[in-house]
Symmetry: C2
Subunit: 384 residues, 2 copies
Amino acid sequence: MHNFTFYNPVKILFGKGQISQLSNLVSANKKILLAYGGGSIKSNGVYQQVMSNLSNAEVIEFGGIEANPDYDTLMKAVQICKEQKIDLILSVGGGSIIDGCKFIALAAHYDGDPWDILTQKDLVCHNAIDIGVVQTLPATGSEMNCGSVISRRKIGAKQAFGSPLVFPKFAILDPETTYSLPIRQLKNGIIDPFIHVTEQYITTDLNTPIQDGIAETVLKTLISVSHDIVSGTTDYDTRASWMWAATNALNGYIGIGVDHDWATHMIGHELTAAYGLDHGQSLAIIAPQLWRHQFKTKMDKLAKLGRNVWGLENQDSEIVATQAIILTEEFFHSIGIQTKLSDFKVKVDPEAITENLFRYSNGNIGEHKNIDAQAVKEILLMAQ
Amino acid sequence: MHNFTFYNPVKILFGKGQISQLSNLVSANKKILLAYGGGSIKSNGVYQQVMSNLSNAEVIEFGGIEANPDYDTLMKAVQICKEQKIDLILSVGGGSIIDGCKFIALAAHYDGDPWDILTQKDLVCHNAIDIGVVQTLPATGSEMNCGSVISRRKIGAKQAFGSPLVFPKFAILDPETTYSLPIRQLKNGIIDPFIHVTEQYITTDLNTPIQDGIAETVLKTLISVSHDIVSGTTDYDTRASWMWAATNALNGYIGIGVDHDWATHMIGHELTAAYGLDHGQSLAIIAPQLWRHQFKTKMDKLAKLGRNVWGLENQDSEIVATQAIILTEEFFHSIGIQTKLSDFKVKVDPEAITENLFRYSNGNIGEHKNIDAQAVKEILLMAQ
């Protein structure tokens, strides 16, 4: 096990009716930026629940944050926060809204060019506006971590950043708010946390039974609820298990003391930026091929996936690991998630993808820093 | 799943050499109360490591905190904290020291009779001295929670309390500091976290796959390392898995959204207070008999223990649950942990135990509040 530091001060309020706690969580007379997306919160009753519990606060609305939140959209909110001296940014929606709020919170207190926050890996910020979350879409885990991914469509970029300043002060997770999600987001809500786990779990076997066991628990839970979830179940416990699994996939807990990959995400971000694929779709396309390409170093953990998640019993780790990839692909297909670029009629341009990918990255990617431009091109061709 | 709130802001610094981080964690010119126990930290090198990283701080030592820390001992430290205006209490040792520091931290800021902190369940404190931890004995999980148990030998009492004010600001866990522990503490370091898990896991089956899977992971990890640990292994990864398992057993994470029992602990505390049994010993004696006594309501989860931890495959849950208790007892015996009062030549006085137990408790105990004085007496007789 590697040495690690773990710190996660997010207060989670989980369960039905918990939005009513907002009035206790938000001090009276605070000035709040209420950030949301395309307006689904107004048709599913969440907006009304939120507003009725903010009667003591001054609320300024900022709607229209898109999936894969865009730099230019967010900069308008930054301007509002500066002008209005906002005390708290309340994110109501899914991971894109939260990610956007994290950027807004930092940029509103940053004197330089806010693009630095996304591109200067060693930048240290000193202040941020407080963030609160009402989570309606289980997927990214952003509600309980300090990371964020922002797109800048104008230049075809998608960049990640992290800062302990943007841990949400609280996150309200009511599984009932997920009942109205469309099937596309239900599917993304399975695949996204699934790959979050594998980016931390399908790496080097470092003899970390607690982290591995929790990772396997999250994967098994996602698998066990997946068919009901994509079928739109309104069984509360199933929705609750799904929602809590998604948070656990990326709240830092399974990633302590182990190697991290994230190459699937980095390649996937470029596919989203270039071809408009959903984040979850891009991950399902890249991950299995990346595991095959990096089979030698990932075989031990792929074999654990096969034995502990898929229940394979063969003694030969190579056979089990190979089979584990196939079973994972079959699982994706079984819930209607496609795993090839051609399924989306995308003819990939490997040169353009790799050029963008390595523009801001410090060298090669993957847990062994051995995935270079050539490897990315090979993985993309395997995924075609 | 029940609704829940989860909040745990403890910063964990885990791994070899992490004590060197103390100089970064403690601001210069702080006044520190260095709290420890019988002095083993001076012979195993931990004291020297700590002091060499506190050269900028003013350190006042308070040694001699006993296992099952005593109210009267701790009140001397409270006096020192008040007189010296201590900024930070640094606990160096195991869970008894941390528990003691939590009481000291609150009592030093409490104007009334400090015994209130331990006996008035609805008391709300408003201030506490900051606490830091250098953990040397994996067992109680106190390094990453806000609970504490204090004894008051003068009146034969052992009482628990909790307050979010006493979450440690940081906890340093270096598995190498455990190498010098004696076998008695190694055994307690297996049984104590094992029963912490079962108090939260062997309750009602509420369809909580994430919490259950993490609980099973902690149990399986404890079982897998146990023989090497009690044999005194110096294999780093084994010590690290053990240490992190013990923390995970009681940092709140497996206990969210589920029923809690804690009756084994409450009865065990009385056995410790009355007969001087180690905390861990008292738990191993009570838990299996309590599971038998409460078999009807605990059968579903005992069957999960049997299937998911002990690998039993029988379809009949009653048979699997019964067998799970036997296998757990056999596991305790296999690492030299005894499970009967007679093994310690204790002839229990059920009347005295129940009288003390229910003196401060609000009614019956257990997750269904159905364990009354009569039930406790029956469990004690079964454990004789």
